[in-house]
Amino acid sequence: MKMLVVRGLCKEYRRGGGTFYAVRDAAMSVGDGDFVCISGQSGGGKSTLLNMIAGLLEPTSGSITSGGRELAGMNDYELSLYRNERIGYIPQGQSILPNLSVIDNVLLPFYLYKKTGDPTGRAMTLLDRVGIAHLAEAYPAHLSGGELKRTAIARSLINSPKMLLADEPTVDLDPRNAEEVMKIFSDISRDSAAVILVTHEANSARWVARRFSMESGILKETT
């Protein structure tokens, strides 16, 4: 069973009296361990597609099936649980909560639902994996852009998701940090989670196994 199957996905907006398609008839399938990159110019519909896959945006038409379950039939609670447990989502920009320490930010998704066990050890392991274990007790105000992004990556993995979605993960980073972040994603996909990146940066593409391009709402696989 494929991790993710997208069929005939459309997202329509009304703009200036007319209709505008942010995503038009998108189709793709992603399996375990796939490392996928969706690239293209800004405004091409990449983020909209990613957000629909994450259950944050409701499609106008089409279907998204993840782990054999259709997203369209889910209510708000089920979609929230899906986002929390099945996927790890790294939004564009800075998304670390300012009032929680680095380790508390990483732990947060675990504690949003009643679960047993102590995830602290796993959180420290993840922070170590992304190279910022020494900053566990630090607060976001004292971290650099690269460190914040690594915190977001560690957070997205705390619930051992089957699929990782990252929207422009390297856009605010210098080349060295960007390279390190892409290496981390590559390692994650090797651990059998599917990774889907959205980026408009051309040099990110060399890390991935499968490439898609998206222009004017139309998705095409290029590898």
């Binding site: 945006l57 447990e85 947060l108 998704p109 949003l112 602290t120």
Partner: protein
């Protein structure tokens, strides 16, 4: 590293700790409310309690005193302001059988000196155990066999205990007992039977500027009960008129109590309205503060939704924050009252100048607990709107914030 549990409460506390000035501001509002509600309630209850005590202790319908000494008599009874005044034994006999009097009993008021002859300035009150119907029954509760000659009973605030000696006008008396608190002038008074009081008056006369002419018969006041249903004001008028040549004044104790109760009733109504208004104002100000701060934090709440938090979880986090603010403020307010105001209770009581009796520890606990509860609900009530608004945020709207 130890186990960390990010419950809604833990997240709320962290959010509050990281914004200390904002948190302090909100806690202060609730603390102010808590202070005023608990202080106002306690103050009101103490005044009511004092009025009840006064009503129970005074007992008589009227006090007949020398003309011009009505205020002295009130001062002695309400505030324990020492005073000496008297009329002759012959006049007191006629007064005790005046028209309209059902029963009467004499009392002797002697003020001790601020000198080496006396322990301290105090009001000595002599009563006649055979006829007294106000102080006597109350003293009987403490001294079942009656008060022997040469012994005294002291008010609750006098710093002597049973068995101690106490000196007035160069004569030493044994303290036979100590009375319960009344919230009135009785708390700083010394009670003697009439024989002992006459001896004290004789001693007083030796040291006074103007010696007392009728030591054996002088009486300071006659406590009287009037016929049931009789008009008290008419009694006072007629008595003053009848004894005009003898310069006699009448203090209507029941009227005194009624006037105090009426003023008290009006005062309590004002206090209640003010407290309700303050509570509403507090809720309003806190609601505005919560709305402004939670609107500023929409992005933060958007991130929670993106990470999979349910609407319910968001509402819980917001309500946990407001509850934490409320608890801290309510406790701070009550603590401030207990720490800064309670030690000054005797000073407050003295300054007010009317009967003021703080409640028992049990009643006090109930008052403070009720004040805590009233203050506690302020935060959650103020944040309901914000919690509902943030909780309604869909994942789609949340995404726009992130």
């Amino acid at each position: 590293m130890g186990k960390r549990r990010l419950t809604s409460r833990a997240i709320a506390v962290q959010n509050l700790r990281r914004r200390p000035m904002r948190t302090l501001c909100m806690v202060s509002f609730v603390a102010l409310l808590s202070f005023v509600v608990s202080g106002g309630s306690l103050f009101s209850y103490s005044l009511l309690n004092g009025a009840r005590s006064m009503s129970a202790r005074l007992g008589a319908d009227a006090l007949i005193v020398p003309l011009g000494y009505e205020k002295n008599a009130e001062g002695a009874l309400l505030r324990g302001e020492p005073s000496t005044f008297y009329f002759s034994g012959e006049l007191s006999e006629r007064l005790m059988h005046a028209e309209g009097v059902v029963r009467a009993s004499p009392q002797l008021f002697i003020a001790s000196f601020n000198s080496s002859h006396c322990a301290f300035p105090a009001q000595l009150i002599g009563y006649d155990p055979r006829t007294d119907f106000t102080i006597g029954p109350w003293l009987e509760e403490k001294m079942p066999g009656g008060l022997p000659d040469g012994e005294v009973v002291v008010g609750n605030l006098v710093s002597r205990k049973r068995g101690d000696d106490i000196t007035f006008f160069g004569r030493t008396y044994r303290v036979a007992g100590r009375l319960d608190k009344t919230g009135m002038g009785f708390d700083t008074s010394i009670f003697l039977n009439m024989n002992t009081a006459r001896a004290a008056l004789a001693d007083y006369s030796q040291y006074a500027e103007k010696p007392v002419t009728d030591v054996g018969g002088a009486v300071s006041s006659i406590t009287v009960d009037i016929k049931d249903g009789a008009d008290h004001s008419k009694f006072a008028r007629e008595t003053r008129e009848y004894f005009k040549g003898d310069l006699v004044g009448v203090v209507l104790t029941q009227t005194m109590i009624d006037n105090i109760s009426k003023d008290l009733g009006a005062f309590l109504s004002i206090v209640t309205v003010l407290m309700a208004a303050l509570w509403a104002l507090d809720v309003g100000v806190l609601a505005i503060l919560f709305t402004v701060t939670f609107n500023e934090r929409r992005r933060e709440f958007g991130i929670y939704r993106v990470l999979g938090a349910t609407r319910r979880k968001l509402r819980w986090i917001i309500l946990s924050e407001s509850c934490a603010v409320s608890v801290a403020g309510a406790v701070a307010g009550v603590f401030s009252l207990c720490f800064f105001v309670f030690p000054f209770a005797p000073l407050i009581s003295r300054t007010i100048g009317t009967a003021y009796l703080q409640p028992s520890p049990e009643v006090l606990s109930v008052i403070l607990l009720a004040s805590l509860l009233v203050s506690f609900v302020t935060g959650p009530v103020a944040s309901i709107n914000s919690a509902a608004a943030i909780g309604r945020m869909s994942a789609c709207e949340a995404l726009k914030e992130v």
